[in-house]
Symmetry: C2
Subunit: 500 residues, 2 copies
Amino acid sequence: MVYLRPKKLDILGDKSALEVYLNRFTADQYGVKEGDLLDLYFVGHETGATALITDTIVDDGHIGIPAAIWNTYPVSELDRVAVELQGQAKSVASIRKKIKGEKLSYDEIREIMYDIAKRRLSPIEMTYFASTSYNPGFDDEEMYSLTKAMSDTGIILDFSSLGGFVVDKHSIGGLPSKGVTPVIVALMSKLGFIIPNTSTRGITSPAGTTDVLETLMPVSLSEADIKRVVAETRGCLAWGGGLELAPADDILIQIEKPLHIESYDKFVVSIIAKKIAAGCKYVLLDLPYGDTAKVSVADVAKVSKAFETLFAKFDIKVFVYKRQAKGPDGNGIGPILEARDLLWILERDKRRPIGMENLALDMAAQLIALTGKYNYQSAHEILRETLDSGEALRQFWKIGKSQGAKQIVKAEDLLPGHYTFEIKSTKAGLIKTYDNHIIVQITRALGAPYAKSAGIYLTRQVGDRINVGDVVATLYAEAQSRIDLAVKNLDGEQDGWILV
Amino acid sequence: MVYLRPKKLDILGDKSALEVYLNRFTADQYGVKEGDLLDLYFVGHETGATALITDTIVDDGHIGIPAAIWNTYPVSELDRVAVELQGQAKSVASIRKKIKGEKLSYDEIREIMYDIAKRRLSPIEMTYFASTSYNPGFDDEEMYSLTKAMSDTGIILDFSSLGGFVVDKHSIGGLPSKGVTPVIVALMSKLGFIIPNTSTRGITSPAGTTDVLETLMPVSLSEADIKRVVAETRGCLAWGGGLELAPADDILIQIEKPLHIESYDKFVVSIIAKKIAAGCKYVLLDLPYGDTAKVSVADVAKVSKAFETLFAKFDIKVFVYKRQAKGPDGNGIGPILEARDLLWILERDKRRPIGMENLALDMAAQLIALTGKYNYQSAHEILRETLDSGEALRQFWKIGKSQGAKQIVKAEDLLPGHYTFEIKSTKAGLIKTYDNHIIVQITRALGAPYAKSAGIYLTRQVGDRINVGDVVATLYAEAQSRIDLAVKNLDGEQDGWILV
């Protein structure tokens, strides 16, 4: 164990493998080579990191700490960091075993999850592990072990002292337009259910629920904040990425991003581990399927069954909400446009997306029926009343204020990007479906989710009749170059993503 | 395409994924985000690299180039580097396809190899590809495509204009002690065969042939150097790592290191691709097998067959030299100790390892018989004469001089580490075998291959009778702390690696 002076570097650093810089002289003195795994001890925290060697970036006796680390741990240039040279993480042997086709025990899987959570595995080592979820795959017992280990190696929230049913709604994702969850959280918490919702930023989608919500209120809450907000309001709308709920999952997601694929096994495990960590006992799982969704029609029964089996093993009641994905749930796609849609629903504005509103009410009613507090019919009536009376809107902003929102934002204050382009139909007929992949591609070309006001606004929905020349959608961006890029992406076929 | 001023950074950088630093302002201006893939164009060269964003390491308009790049490409701070933003490499779609269990065509595999060679794939993307060699694996046609694509995407040497048989000896590796190849190269080239040998540094072993040879002569040769040395001497003893022979293989090896495993499929492909690239037509493939070797007794027939089948498809004649691995071939393990062993053989010193000498003569005779120039018996006689007469020694140094050796080194000039420790036997009996894994572990603890004079010298060989208290081996190191570390690694059981 050696003690080095930390130097904060302005480099962000790798997000999946934390890296630190040592001066060559320091490294030689302690026998550290480029790429060696180190354990670092900050005040009350420890993490693994990979050693990089430099002659100039840090001086002898110092350790260079990129932002990915000092944003996460309490690094002070006044303290010393204790540094210990580690060999290769022991769990690498288990990864090797799995690659060779053997089964892993709970203890072996837990060690892998622990080492991932403690940043003791390199991206390459984690990728080998991630690859085994495709081939050779995991059996039921391993799936159970993975889920348990993934939640066990982080913090586990417990809201049982508050009384009442702890519920949540979660979507497997893959569809643009994210207003449903916030509406459900406002409704359910107003009706006395405890709903500690955590969401993510968009990885492959035009905007994650987190990207949408943060146009309205702070969402980056600590564990203590979440406990306080839920105690005050019975709900929360937090970003899950800053928390230590099933942390191995968040790290593994970085490894899945480059290929834009996630095995069914892996997302079943991820979602259930997060719900265990959040202390949920009743979950409505939104499972959209279809040609341009994450799950195909052929696989929906299998995936649904996998969720039901594994949730049951952890004593969590689940309602799997299977539905065919024909296009976005709302009209807006992109952070500001989606936030406007959801506020329009809560504000009872006539421009609100009715399809999305019905979906939110139906899902919430199913979730209530699952708890047994009311049957579906009664639940639906109560929910509609809560929405129509404006109580859901007040509840939404109660949560917002509790999370730190300075003021109530009105839908009319939310302005989409200044630069626009209208998509006109070249065909006539009934809109059967939208191609989600192309919607995602265009919206990202427009700059979402980084450019908050970029996105698409659909003026026609699935089921609407269109004629040649009708405006079907408007593109919004913060710069003309982004509009040009999106139009270039459409490649001359501007309405090829609308199937009539 | 933008033109930026290169700034050489003292950071080595990641070896498997080249990375460059852009100032945040420059990056924003050109729409480059952290982690984006860039194509870089230097004078006459191009490579892919990943973008990292910084506020201070480089100024606006500059591009920070780590040593891993400027050591490889002609980066001059007087020139500009042309930089182009790339999307994700197209071959990622093929990797995804393979993960999903589909077969890949030659064109798809070639694109993957090309993108790897051009540094267009990230370590994570490459790891997913590497994982498919275990599960689901490759069929015969894919194995052929992989081998062809791996050699096709680099330079291919051609020595046919020199006349004579182009031969080589190659070991699948995994055994400590590397003197056999240099002895064979000296013998074969002296007898008129063309033997353009390339070797590697030790990755998991105590010393690679390259580590041993560079204690005696320069081994880091360019393509032009190799052509000149082979024209002058008919042989060479070059380090393969600096060349563009099947470059995708060298990059993939970085991805295999962390797990210390390599699938059979993968090493068969690697070795054959390198031999095609080196222009070889006759190959002796050394295939040691056993409990502590790379290949187990159970698998030796399968692996041997895989080599024979695939070599035949490329019209290269192969002799697979199957042999049971009972311990190191020589007495010395570690760069200096192995170099001393091989010089003792060439110098006809009575302390030379006779087992290693016999192995070199037998392999060389088999290789000659494979070409049909002489039968095994005659070849063996000629080889022994060439060795006994000192002609092999003179030929070895002819190659050494041609590669740039300033002077002829004598075995007596090679001194092992000053700090020593004797391993005494605690048992009596006939030595049946040595555990290679433990030998590797001790030698690395002693500091090899970085500490050239560190290593183990075995005073007893497999087949020797020992008594309690006999000195079986001596450990050498450059510091007492390294001796202590090795002894600690032995964990009280100092001769547990010697099976009697």
